[in-house]
Symmetry: D2
Subunit: 366 residues, 4 copies
Amino acid sequence: MSGVWGEFLKLSIFGESHGKCIGIVINGLPAGLELDLHHIQKELGRRAPGKSQLATARQEDDAFEIVSGYLNNRTTGAPLSVLIWNKDQHSRDYEEIKDIMRPGHADFTARNKFAGFNDYRGGGHFSGRLTAPLVLAGAIGKQILSQKGIVIGSHILRIGNIEDTRFNPVNADPEKLLAMSDKPFPVISEGQGQLMQEHILQAKMEQDSVGGIVEAAIVGLPAGIGSPFFDSVESKLAHLLFSIPAVKGVEFGTGFAVSGMRGSEANDEFTLGNGEVRTMTNHCGGIQGGITNGMPLIFRTAFKPTPSIARGQRTVDIVRMEEVEIHIQGRHDPCIVPRAVPVVEAVAAIALLDMIIEKDGSSWKI
Amino acid sequence: MSGVWGEFLKLSIFGESHGKCIGIVINGLPAGLELDLHHIQKELGRRAPGKSQLATARQEDDAFEIVSGYLNNRTTGAPLSVLIWNKDQHSRDYEEIKDIMRPGHADFTARNKFAGFNDYRGGGHFSGRLTAPLVLAGAIGKQILSQKGIVIGSHILRIGNIEDTRFNPVNADPEKLLAMSDKPFPVISEGQGQLMQEHILQAKMEQDSVGGIVEAAIVGLPAGIGSPFFDSVESKLAHLLFSIPAVKGVEFGTGFAVSGMRGSEANDEFTLGNGEVRTMTNHCGGIQGGITNGMPLIFRTAFKPTPSIARGQRTVDIVRMEEVEIHIQGRHDPCIVPRAVPVVEAVAAIALLDMIIEKDGSSWKI
Amino acid sequence: MSGVWGEFLKLSIFGESHGKCIGIVINGLPAGLELDLHHIQKELGRRAPGKSQLATARQEDDAFEIVSGYLNNRTTGAPLSVLIWNKDQHSRDYEEIKDIMRPGHADFTARNKFAGFNDYRGGGHFSGRLTAPLVLAGAIGKQILSQKGIVIGSHILRIGNIEDTRFNPVNADPEKLLAMSDKPFPVISEGQGQLMQEHILQAKMEQDSVGGIVEAAIVGLPAGIGSPFFDSVESKLAHLLFSIPAVKGVEFGTGFAVSGMRGSEANDEFTLGNGEVRTMTNHCGGIQGGITNGMPLIFRTAFKPTPSIARGQRTVDIVRMEEVEIHIQGRHDPCIVPRAVPVVEAVAAIALLDMIIEKDGSSWKI
Amino acid sequence: MSGVWGEFLKLSIFGESHGKCIGIVINGLPAGLELDLHHIQKELGRRAPGKSQLATARQEDDAFEIVSGYLNNRTTGAPLSVLIWNKDQHSRDYEEIKDIMRPGHADFTARNKFAGFNDYRGGGHFSGRLTAPLVLAGAIGKQILSQKGIVIGSHILRIGNIEDTRFNPVNADPEKLLAMSDKPFPVISEGQGQLMQEHILQAKMEQDSVGGIVEAAIVGLPAGIGSPFFDSVESKLAHLLFSIPAVKGVEFGTGFAVSGMRGSEANDEFTLGNGEVRTMTNHCGGIQGGITNGMPLIFRTAFKPTPSIARGQRTVDIVRMEEVEIHIQGRHDPCIVPRAVPVVEAVAAIALLDMIIEKDGSSWKI
């Protein structure tokens, strides 16, 4: 396996939930970039647990330490490495159940892949905690994109059967997109948001968990980013989105629903507005032939419910090879979706930055 | 842009719809593999147009010519290169409309990406015709997988609002999966299939087109293939699936629907059967933590309707910068989905073979 | 194995000496480039055999056919694929000796790597003939570099013990460098060149072969191309140079000899000339810390003698496992070096273009 | 730029000479490997400064800290990350001369590449200190190779004009190779070694430095490792060797000298010994067609003299754009070669391990 991703912007992630630290090495950033450390911390904070009843009570402040590639408050062009030290681990929780395969977790598959030598404590390297370095890289990516006028925003589109209003795919407002990132529970319709939160707390009370869908929009992208086939915007984005633990579906534009339409309805007709070519609808989600067309890039990501639930579940003890019942202890999120929102945005920023560097080169001015 | 994909199995595709030929170079195949050329041709035939009223009337027999890496009916270990020569081109159809951006096509984005130098004839390199080399590589991949007891099958799950029965995610039958590939219109319920075909012909009569969803199942995979994060089974598969033109959504297992479930319902509980660890349900689609668990791998791929329709559509002439109406001439598929079925299977075979080579090395015996 | 090279400019080569064709797919070229086909053919001609007594009498005109990525005399931005069809093969020469390992050839190692399935005819994929596609890609690379004021030239520095004058490392003249490519036997001192040619013919008469050294100089490079460590100019260039069959040594600047110097002598002191930073000497060959410094890039490549010689040699029959004597029939080069000169230049052009695209991006104007 | 290398074994290095730490992330190691931490520290010790008059007086104990991928004394299969914290920095030494380009250093080229934002203290990311992580990865590589019966050894072949005896290319003794790594100044002939050391001390006394050549031999390699062309053993090894700061030449087998031979002399004739195919000579250095032939792999690496010397040197102040004289203060190695020996061995181990994983896969047993 490899924790390395990217062609033009290259990331290398590492670490385990209960190890010394987690971290990331980012290759290919332009030199001379002044990082907004406050913004990075804020983005990490959006992902961090322990802030509300909706999330795990574990306290992880996710303070980060830049250890290379940064001098006098600017990137040097050399690999930028960042560490996030682990704290507040209850490793003992896992010792007793290390041979008992938790349903919905990677315990069984990791054991097969790594011949039983994988770090089993808290999911080890498979932990959702590894998304913190991605959020960090994404925060840097967002900062660069922002300087180019590109804005990313997302909201919780669905929890259980409760749906938020969708983004306007033709005319997404950058201000409103940005505002989403300040909300602890980002939704467009606060009423629906209230119902979603109640739904989560209800599941929590019942020792259960729920999943949901995140919808993201990116505006300000120029036409011409991406490629046909293997380096398409969809391919690169979906590759990273499916790297996020618990993601089981990704769709662009009208997505699965477009497959039920007629061509005459699904095709986005072109028009001229202020001398610019635009489309009247945006079923394609801002991407045609794998390349951006200048319209908002829209996609949705489906998350399964948190697999760690306190309820009894049937499973097997892999050493004794017998069926057992498991009651997962510990502090777990009844719903991972609110904390996943900044992760979705982060990988989108990373994928787009990679494609922009492909186009503009590594020595571009900011 | 790059037409190269893969880490352990490396593909390089090239060609244009109306150029001299299209082709592929496959790197990393084991030496000594006797190819079943008849099977390759059969797979290409499944994708080829001109066979029924449901598809374009263009005649492309897609005869292939192996030009390197093959001696005395066996792979040599050197790059295997295959050409498919183009015939039956009506390039003139495109000359007149080359400045008029076809809605739903890549004309506008390609023009932006390649500064207007892209081959505009029949979509050029963006054409769905480029999936023929993928089918070819996939046929080779299937042959190798088959020798390892791995079987891939797929069917048309939905056309318009007409749905076929789903595969049994826990107990997909390899024989039935294989049988699907012999059907010209692969569905489980022939009755629903009949309705789907009528729906397509209706759209065709109305100078329109329809989209649909393909569901695939892969059985016989051992547990332990894939990796967490960037090299997850979902990431690699989705990367290639979204490389297929017209794909707008991909989901694994229960997919988007799992996001509406409770954890107690979505978690696949483990059980022992015949001394083997299995799951009782298969909402995860055979993948946990990015790695196969030995259960059937299930995924669904959504295709938008064919963008080329004869109906009048509003668009712009990019040179004169004025709004115009376009009536697309030529012979086009009213629905691409039936021809897309073998493409979906092919990229799945390619992705899995890459991950199996990662595990077993390049010098494995067949 | 993989015939794919490159990060920003990606090449995929394929083919065998006695197969249908050899070829290359070039990914990452800018769109809109008008290729000088005459120049490409001229470069291929420099490498082609059959032109003098110094080389093999095989006739290979190496006519090339562009099959994709090129429209209306310009690159489209899509993968550029080129085929060179094989002719004039005496495959029968190899049938008899296919189990007898030719000394100095890859017969034995290829057999081990590919379990005996490698194409044994004329070296198969290991043949020096595979350098023709590299020369072709290099010719395109040179054309782009030339438009940026970068000139590559090289000469035969040594054959046997006969040495040519070296390039002036501080002040290499672009005109003189370019003039080298017009010479059938490129040397600075024609007298030494005459002696070298006599030395080669003498070896040929004695059914033997000789090796030699090629020296190359590249002028007009801006400072700042390349990277420290893994992507250093030396690493990328040496990687490709050692890909050329028969290369056994590569050195930059003063090379091995600099290891015998004192620091006070080897350090290239800086000076100002016309407001430009230059070095007074150029022992580093124009590269410091893996990055160009704006001075001429100088390197030398050592070629072993052609392994195919008519003289009797001791070897083994790998099937019968017995020692035998071999007399290699066929038409072989008594010295590969004159034909290797354009190959050295070609891979240098390819490596530099890759690093320039890294810096400037794929959408740069020409 | 990217600090990432490798296809099957993937390394990511980071850090600066005067930053917080340097480090490495190693991807693709098999799970379950028990590391010999004492051996790793010993290898780091061979590279570390401060141990004799021949080297800089800087004290760097290079203690390493594994922060991920390692549990209960075994690799987990997840990325293995290791940090080496920096100490004993005299950063102030560099503040005054940051605008003055040190001859022979990367100051000028780094400034051009990174628009002046590079870390200038002690060479920053360009520092030879970054070879410590490579030695660490190489120590792990050596441990794995050793379990497969593969042994790497090297010695100082030349300092100034003083030459050591060469390794026997046909019959290198694994015991003697291993013994080399225990010597503080590894040479075969102790008498020549004495002269070399005197030569270095003489240069030091004269405020100067010297270069030299390292020769390495690797025995126990099976035939069939490597590939033709881009993934040849020479290409992969040379790529990494030229990544080492100060390397200006690499040659395999008889190297540059083989270019002066006749084919009848340079060809390594095959023979049978104990039922095994061997060559009688080994001018090719154990590699034919880019693939190992089972004979000892032999190569030589040329290092330039340490560029930091106390003597006055002419250079330029890049800000004031005027010519100045520089006297480099600080504690520098009069000769880097003794400390470079383990680095050469390390990158060789890394390159070979990558190629062995390609052949055998990632899930091989140890």
